[in-house]
């Protein structure tokens, strides 16, 4: 597939935003059961603002993908069948949740309704919103991932790993961002978020690695024989029917060399996984405030490469029909 930057930014930005939100809420949860030090409402509010900002940026990027963005609202109509439609519905929900989560914190509407256990768990509005938001965030991961994973013709994508990748890599980068955020403002949660980020990144490595392994050995269902219905070992296209380009030659192929692809893969394998993990570890040891930020930035850049590769790696069967000009 042709990697479209709109979609690369959309998925990486909102993935990180959802992750950041999950991190914030995880922090709140841990804090409310006193596993970690409680944070100020401002911490959550600013964090939410950051997440919201990323969501908005992602949404903005997505508009570049649409030919007719002014009609984007129409995309909400087919939620029964279309994962894209579902994403279109869930994404604003996510934004709303993050917005209210931040707003309630900002306004300090945090008086608990109930307190569970022995003063162990105080349930306030932000907690409810956070819990709902967690569901929404996962739903959004699933929707986004399923847009790709549900296209059975794109066999590189059509696997549960894709969902895993979106969740783990998105959440990982979000936690990484939370660690960076913590480091930036200098609270004590760098280690907490960092640890989670490393765990999620490692999970991501597991699914993404599995995806790569799977895709190397992938035997595509379609081939020239089934594409044109001629049973013969040797078939070659001579002419695709036109000598210039077309939508079909532009949208479904990256037009890059295999070397370039390998380079991108190497880049993301380095930037997404070992680099941020090492940096976080180093930050833990050195108590550095900047290293977690660098770790996040490195990982995010790596994710851009990962997403680019994700598209480029997927070989659409339609390309069987567009191979040669004569």
């Amino acid at each position: 597939m042709h990697p479209a930057f709109s979609v690369i930014f959309l998925t990486t930005l909102i993935g990180a935003a959802q992750g950041l939100f999950l991190a914030l809420f995880t922090g709140q949860l841990y804090a409310s059961i006193r596993l970690i030090e409680p944070q100020t409402d401002v911490f959550y509010a600013v964090g939410s603002a950051l997440a919201l900002g990323l969501l908005i940026a992602g949404l903005g990027a997505s508009f570049f993908h649409l030919g007719r963005p002014e009609r984007a609202w129409r995309a909400a109509t087919r939620w029964r069948t279309s994962w894209l439609s579902r994403e279109v519905i869930v994404l604003p929900m996510m934004m709303a949740v993050v917005f209210f989560y931040g707003l309630f914190h900002w306004l300090e509407w945090t008086d608990p309704f109930v307190v569970l256990g022995d003063d162990m768990l105080a349930i306030d509005a932000t907690f409810v919103i956070g819990a709902v938001g967690t569901l929404v965030a996962f739903a959004l991961y699933v929707c986004t991932a399923m847009i790709y994973a549900s296209v059975k013709f794109l066999e590189e994508w059509h696997s549960p790993y894709t969902v895993g990748n979106f969740i783990f890599l998105g959440a990982g980068s979000g936690f990484m961002l939370a660690a960076a955020y913590s480091a930036y403002i200098g609270n004590h949660l760098v280690g907490f978020y960092g640890t989670w980020a490393v765990i999620l990144t490692l999970l991501g490595l597991a699914t993404r690695g599995a995806t790569l392994v799977r895709n190397v050995g992938l035997r595509h269902k379609s081939n020239l024989q089934t594409a044109i219905g001629v049973r013969h070992r040797t078939i070659e296209q001579k002419s695709q029917g036109f000598t210039g380009s077309s939508f079909n030659t532009r949208e479904f192929f990256h037009h890059k060399s295999p070397e370039f692809l390998r380079l991108v893969r190497l880049a993301f394998l380095v930037l997404v996984f070992p680099v941020p993990i090492l940096l976080i570890a180093l930050a833990y040891v050195t108590q550095s405030a900047t290293l977690p930020i660098i770790a996040f930035v490195a990982q995010y850049l790596g994710l851009l490469a990962e997403r680019w590769y994700f598209f480029a790696e997927a070989r659409h069967p339609q390309n069987l029909y567009y191979q040669s000009v004569a």
């Binding site: 030919g67 279309s82 439609s85 013709f153 379609s222 089934t226 939508f247 339609q318």
Partner: protein, 240 residues
Amino acid sequence: MTQLALVIDLNVCVGCHACVTSCKQWNTSGWAGPMVDENPYDADPTGTFFNRVQTFEVGNYPQTETVHFPKSCLHCEDPPCVPVCPTGASYKREDNGVVLVDYDKCIGCKYCSWACPYGVRELDEQQKVMKKCTLCIDRITDQTLPESERKPACVLACPTSARLYGDVHDPDSEVSVAIRERGGYPLMPEWGTRPANHYLPRRKTRMHITEDELQRADNPLTKEDITVYTGEETLDDVTW
């Protein structure tokens, strides 16, 4: 239920591209138009076409077969392009099974094109909506046209009549008979899209000649087997 479709006879298609440009001319000024061209007089001319004719080579020299292969939307019975469309712009008509795009609803997200394994949808790069073969819906349903002309433009144009058109659900239609009797097959059956369009394979006529057929009693040579005596010696001269 009716399912209109094309059946393409690879046995007679000579790859002339008549179906390509007749489609373009009918549709660019029709219901589904315009079909925009980009760089029409410059480098890399490109534009929207609903139908393409491709060429494949099968086998190695000298046992090579050259296959001309026209391809437009196959109007799948289970079209994967439809459910993925977030706006409902892509739809399959209940009355005749034709898969269409409503340009007024389309947001140009291209998702339907990802969900079509056959590469037959094309985004109009100027209008930014998805376009594709309509089976000439504005011809085949136009009751003001004479019956004989209520056919897709490409079908009427095709000089070898390699393009048959009709209802594949009607077992007695020309297309159903052709599919049944001449081994009509769908493209990429592995996806379960159940394309309505079918293709008819190449067929070979061979000739077998036996020895007897070469040597017949009425061979004209027998009328010419005369010799002329030119004075040379024969057994007749030397034996007694």
